[in-house]
């Protein structure tokens, strides 16, 4: 049994687990779904697994100066259904979200309504049973669902990112319940996202991105990389026309059926990034075609790129074995927030 004596959170005695549900719901501490009661033993077991003292400072939310401790993060992880072995990923995800470039307050308070998308890489994916294949962008496995939910509960309970409080989203989207996926590294022809961003081929890491809802595309009628990517580019251009013209981190998710065509054509991630960077562009005058004539102004001939540079395209290998589908995940609002990648076990301020 792990030591519970160092836990400093207020202890609450309730009649039974059902009473816990109603008590927590009534205080706005849940997302509306049932939670696992965060008993001292369960929380201490999480801290024991991750090897952190209860008062370990995971990070400080830079706008409001909120210090987030390992104990509080672990409590919310338990509530979300996490097992102790999931908690290192939750801690890392929170660390990534606190990176200055992520702009956590802006992304979570905005009327734009983005969710936090977590992409997990490295050996830890397999150790905790994450599945990068079927239903990759949905509830694919226990670990992914619980980790994504834990982050949402952390935001709500430690930063009051709740609807109508800090969260001013006009709509939001279903990814705000839980959104976490693993990359299918074993079946990918490319280096992993984490390796690409951190330069370490063996690292386990989490990438956090402030993301709008995924847009599914389909092209099963060609094996040409350029034509496949033109479908993705069309969706990115549509987002620029209908939503936001500003450049930022777009993510594209490629399933095995499409990845095999890139592999056969010996296309690297860099090849894909450069192709999309050149093609995903619109002129401001195109806004007039979709009802935004009022903001075209004198800049109609100005060209806008979806990506500030090729490297801003996040390429993720994931998805079930059959289907020529793909997904485009637009950024929250251009470059205001940038995706952050942190290695599991890394201390960013030591």
């Amino acid at each position: 049994m792990a030591d519970t004596s160092t836990l400093s959170s207020r202890r609450i005695s309730l009649d039974d687990p059902l009473s816990v549900q109603e008590y927590f719901h009534s205080r706005g501490w849940t997302d509306g779904l049932p939670v696992v009661p965060p008993t001292p033993d369960a929380v201490a077991a999480c801290l024991d697994w991750v090897g952190l003292p209860a008062d370990h400072l995971v990070g400080v939310e830079p706008v409001r100066g909120r210090a987030l401790t390992a104990e509080k993060v672990a409590i919310n992880a338990v509530m979300a259904g996490c097992l102790p072995m999931h908690v290192p990923v939750v801690i890392t995800a929170v660390t990534a979200m606190l990176a200055e470039e992520f702009l956590l307050h802006g992304t979570t308070a905005s009327t734009g309504g983005s969710a936090v998308l977590l992409i997990v890489n490295g050996p830890i994916r397999n150790e905790i049973g994450m599945d990068a294949t079927f239903n990759a962008l949905g509830p694919s496995d226990r670990a992914s669902t619980c980790i994504g939910r834990a982050v949402r509960l952390v935001l709500g309970n430690l930063l009051e990112v709740r609807p109508g409080e800090i969260d001013r989203s006009t709509f939001g989207h279903p990814g705000k319940i839980s959104w976490c996926l693993a990359e299918d590294e074993e079946n990918s022809p490319w280096e992993s996202l984490a390796t690409e961003r951190l330069g370490d081929p063996h690292v386990s890491a989490v990438t956090a991105m402030a993301a709008m809802a995924p847009r599914q595309v389909m092209n099963e009628w060609t094996t040409e990389p350029e034509q496949i990517l033109d479908t993705f580019v069309a969706e990115m251009r549509a987002n620029m026309r209908h939503y936001s013209i500003w450049p930022g981190n777009y993510a594209i998710v490629l399933p095995p059926q499409l990845r095999q065509h890139f592999q056969a054509a010996t296309w690297s991630k860099s090849d894909i990034q450069h192709y999309v960077f050149e093609k995903a562009r619109i002129h401001r005058r195109e806004w007039a075609d979709c009802g935004k004539r009022a903001v075209v102004g004198e800049k109609g001939d100005q060209e806008y790129a979806a990506l500030p540079d090729p490297e801003h395209l996040i390429i993720v290998a994931a998805g079930g074995p059959a289907g020529g589908f793909g997904a485009v995940i637009p950024p929250w609002l251009g470059h205001k927030s940038r995706a952050a990648t942190v290695a599991v076990g890394a201390c960013t301020d030591c």
Binding site: L7, S9, R10, R11, I12, S13, L14, D15, D16, P17, S19, V20, F24, R27, W29, P37, P38, T39, P40, V43, V63, G65, R66, A67, E71, K72, I75, N76, M79, L103, H105, G106, T107, A109, S110, T111, L153, N157, L158, L159, E160, L333, K336, S337
Partner: protein
């Protein structure tokens, strides 16, 4: 038989904020307007400036626009704000 659970909220550590001091009078005061930069703030601040001049006799208005509407005001703006008698921060959409 009871169950003991831990409070998941930020809880008692919540920092207490106090209101900024209120000037006794706005007559001849320098008032700063800090906009988040969105289009909707323009007309509101225009109207507010007229109202403060006509009804309260303020001396001048200094307008500042944040470089990132989703982040706190730039440190340079906050430095300049020290010279003002009052500040209005507006969020427009």
């Amino acid at each position: 038989m009871t169950i003991e659970v831990l409070d998941p909220s930020y809880g008692d550590e919540t920092r207490e904020f106090s209101l900024a001091g209120r000037p006794a009078s706005l007559a001849d005061a320098t008032v700063g307007f800090v906009s988040n930069g969105k289009q909707g703030t323009g007309r509101f601040f225009d109207a507010l400036e007229r109202e403060l001049i006509d009804s309260f006799g303020i001396g001048s208005v200094v307008r500042e626009v944040k470089t990132n509407y989703s982040a706190p005001a730039d440190p340079e703006i906050m430095d300049r704000a020290k010279e003002w008698n009052a500040l209005v921060s507006g969020i427009g959409d």
